[in-house]
């Protein structure tokens, strides 16, 4: 057996981020917050498609067993049932992995949910390259796909703090919402003063030299990389765009104006996601600046641990550092 093959760490809980080492974490922030919120909001129901354990919705099931429904491994039915329940007065929170929502149930999300502004809140597990089971489980184009659906809100939270705020906020966002959820031990990255607002990008680190525009947990990594880069004399600012749709063009443009060079980072392909949105907005506004994309190529990806995959596909901390410090 080659050395590369032997060098495996023990797997973390399925879908837990690698960025937990040495960080404060919270367990199952999605399900625990939903369980709390549902005490205040009797119209909330929770659904899963045989992914209750792996999507963290079990705290809700335990607290509200009569409002929890496991429809079995049937993602299309999950979304149709959620749409139907919302049309009968419920707010339907549903969970499975991102891939199975986006690829299998797309038509139903689009028509049964978004077109009717149905009160369906989709918490999609393991977005991007988080899952080690290869292309079948890696939702590396989910933003691209879901962006194509009119009237759908798309949110990519950074950490446990934001995810908890999002769980509450979506109950009051009209229509259908797609959230790239985080599971297991989720790191706490943002300060206690952070306040999620739908449709608003927020600067989470100030800086002078480079502007990083990022989303999801990549925003925390961008901040970590910026902190480290400061030691090498480069001062990077980080704009966290947690709502992908509607896209906060105004904040992104005024942020971009301030820097000579830009980096866009996302846990997604560099085609069709945040980078595409940013480039479109910049071009339309006549802003031309050097821009590096940190994200995934237009490809199918291998199986393996998150450490292994992120290094292989060049989205790990060293690549962030290189982009910030060396501009390549």
């Amino acid at each position: 057996m080659s050395e590369a093959l032997q060098a495996v760490g023990r797997t973390r809980g399925m879908g837990e981020l690698i960025d937990v080492e040495g960080k404060v974490t919270e367990i199952a922030p999605f399900g625990r917050t939903l369980a709390e919120l549902a005490h205040e909001r009797p119209e909330i129901v929770g659904l899963t498609a045989d992914m209750g354990r792996y999507s963290d919705i079990l705290p809700f099931r335990d607290a509200h067993p009569n409002r929890f429904f496991n429809v079995g491994m049937a993602e299309q039915n999950l979304i149709m049932i959620a749409a139907g329940m919302s049309k009968a007065g419920k707010i339907a929170y549903c969970t499975t992995y991102s891939v199975f929502i986006t690829r299998r149930a797309y038509d139903f999300v689009s028509i049964a949910c978004a077109h009717s502004m149905a009160n369906v809140k989709i918490f999609a597990g393991m977005p991007g390259l988080v899952n080690g089971y290869g292309a079948t489980h890696q939702a590396t184009e989910d933003i691209n796909m879901m962006r194509g659906i009119a009237d759908l809100t798309i949110i990519d939270p950074c950490d446990a703090t934001e995810l908890k705020q999002v769980v509450r906020a979506v109950a009051d966002i009209p229509g259908t919402v797609y959230v790239r959820s985080l599971r297991g031990k989720v790191p706490v990255e943002l300060g206690s003063d952070y306040q999620f607002e739908v449709g608003k990008a927020k600067v989470i680190r100030e800086g002078r030299d480079v502007g990083v525009i990022s989303t999801g947990y990549m925003s925390a990594r961008a901040r970590d990389a910026a902190d480290a880069a400061a030691g090498q004399g480069v001062d990077a600012a980080v704009l966290h765009v947690s709502t992908i749709k509607p896209f906060d063009k105004e904040t992104v443009l005024s942020f971009a104006q301030r820097f000579d060079r830009l980096i866009v980072a996302e846990n997604h392909k560099t085609t069709g996601g945040l980078a595409t949105l940013v480039v479109e907005a910049l071009y339309e506004a006549g802003i031309m600046k050097p821009l590096i994309k940190i994200g995934l190529a237009d490809s199918f990806f291998e199986c393996g641990s998150q450490e292994y995959l992120e290094a292989k596909y060049q989205v790990d901390l060293p690549h962030f550092m290189r982009a910030i410090v060396e501009g390549r």
Binding site: A4, R53, G72, R103, G134, H137
Partner: protein, 280 residues
């Protein structure tokens, strides 16, 4: 009309059971190397795979793309441990490669992909097998090929709409060269099967399939169900297999959360010892 590939009569049940034991050993070795895996499903499927690869299927490991080979589609990509074991046993894979199961950079990941010799489809996203099996069966008929198509799928996959679309298609297109092997092991990701899927056999019968139900860990029963499935009567064949997750290793059979098994390094040795004890 085409003549189907025909396996020999008079199966050697003792030899097939020996193959099943060898598969189980390989699977336990793989899972202990990785420290985890979908071992319970693999152990449950070992008898079926032994019957298929060492009695029923016509194939040539030296020529995995042989046009007239019988196809075996593993729809449950997460059962890869079972697939790799049988591919090694059958000569498609080198046994020395098995310990790389699930490791970074390995050709044998936790889910099956069709670049592995002997693997026909990309598994992992469930509910993909049966429809593709129907397509292969239809194309082979168009070509007058003697090859048959065998598709394994699970009780979890009976919950996906795509499975039933495919089931209707198979009957519509008279795929009597197609055999569905339904692994009803009673579990899925969140625990025991949650959806009312029974009566499975009656459902397939109603959909126009020639259906039998067997104990999927009974070699004689499996072999005779496979013999029945050779009939060319215009109907697709379904074999509903009731299997026991972890079969052959009592501790795993008794385990409540069997969908994904992760145990301590030291425990794997005692699981291996249990398997040997069961088979003295």
């Amino acid at each position: 009309m085409s003549t189907l590939n025909h396996p020999p009569e008079n199966p050697d049940i003792r030899a097939l059971k020996g193959r099943a034991l060898s598969l189980r050993r390989k699977m336990l070795n793989m899972a202990s190397g990785k420290g985890e895996g979908y071992i319970a499903q693999g152990l449950g499927m070992a008898d079926c795979l032994a019957a298929l690869y060492f009695h029923e299927l016509r194939y040539d490991p030296a020529d995995p793309r042989w046009q007239d080979r019988d196809r075996f589609l593993l729809s449950t990509g997460h059962y890869s441990i079972a697939m790799y074991a049988v591919l090694a046993e059958a000569g498609y894979l080198d046994e020395t490669e098995l310990p790389t199961y699930g490791l970074n950079g390995s050709r044998l990941p936790m889910s099956t992909f069709d670049d592995i010799p002997g693997v026909e489809i990309v598994g992992g996203s469930l509910g993909h097998g049966l429809g593709q099996a129907v397509g292969m069966a239809m194309a082979l008929k168009v070509d007058g090929s003697p090859a048959r198509v065998f598709c394994e799928f699970s009780d979890g996959e009976l919950q996906e709409g795509s499975t039933w679309e495919a089931a209707m298609g198979a009957a519509t297109f008279k795929c009597d060269n197609l055999v569905g092997l339904i692994d009803c092991n009673g579990i899925q990701a969140d625990g025991p099967v949650t959806v009312k899927i029974d009566p499975v056999a009656d459902k397939f019968t109603a959909f126009g399939w020639d259906t039998v139900e067997v104990n999927g860990n009974d070699m004689e029963a499996l072999v005779s169900a496979l013999a029945n499935a050779r009939k060319q009567d215009g109907r697709p064949k379904a074999i509903v297999m009731r299997t026991t997750p972890g079969f052959g290793v009592p501790t795993l059979m008794a385990r409540e959360r069997a969908h994904f098994v992760r145990v301590d390094n030291s425990e794997w040795d005692s699981l291996k010892a249990e398997l040997e004890k069961e088979n003295v």
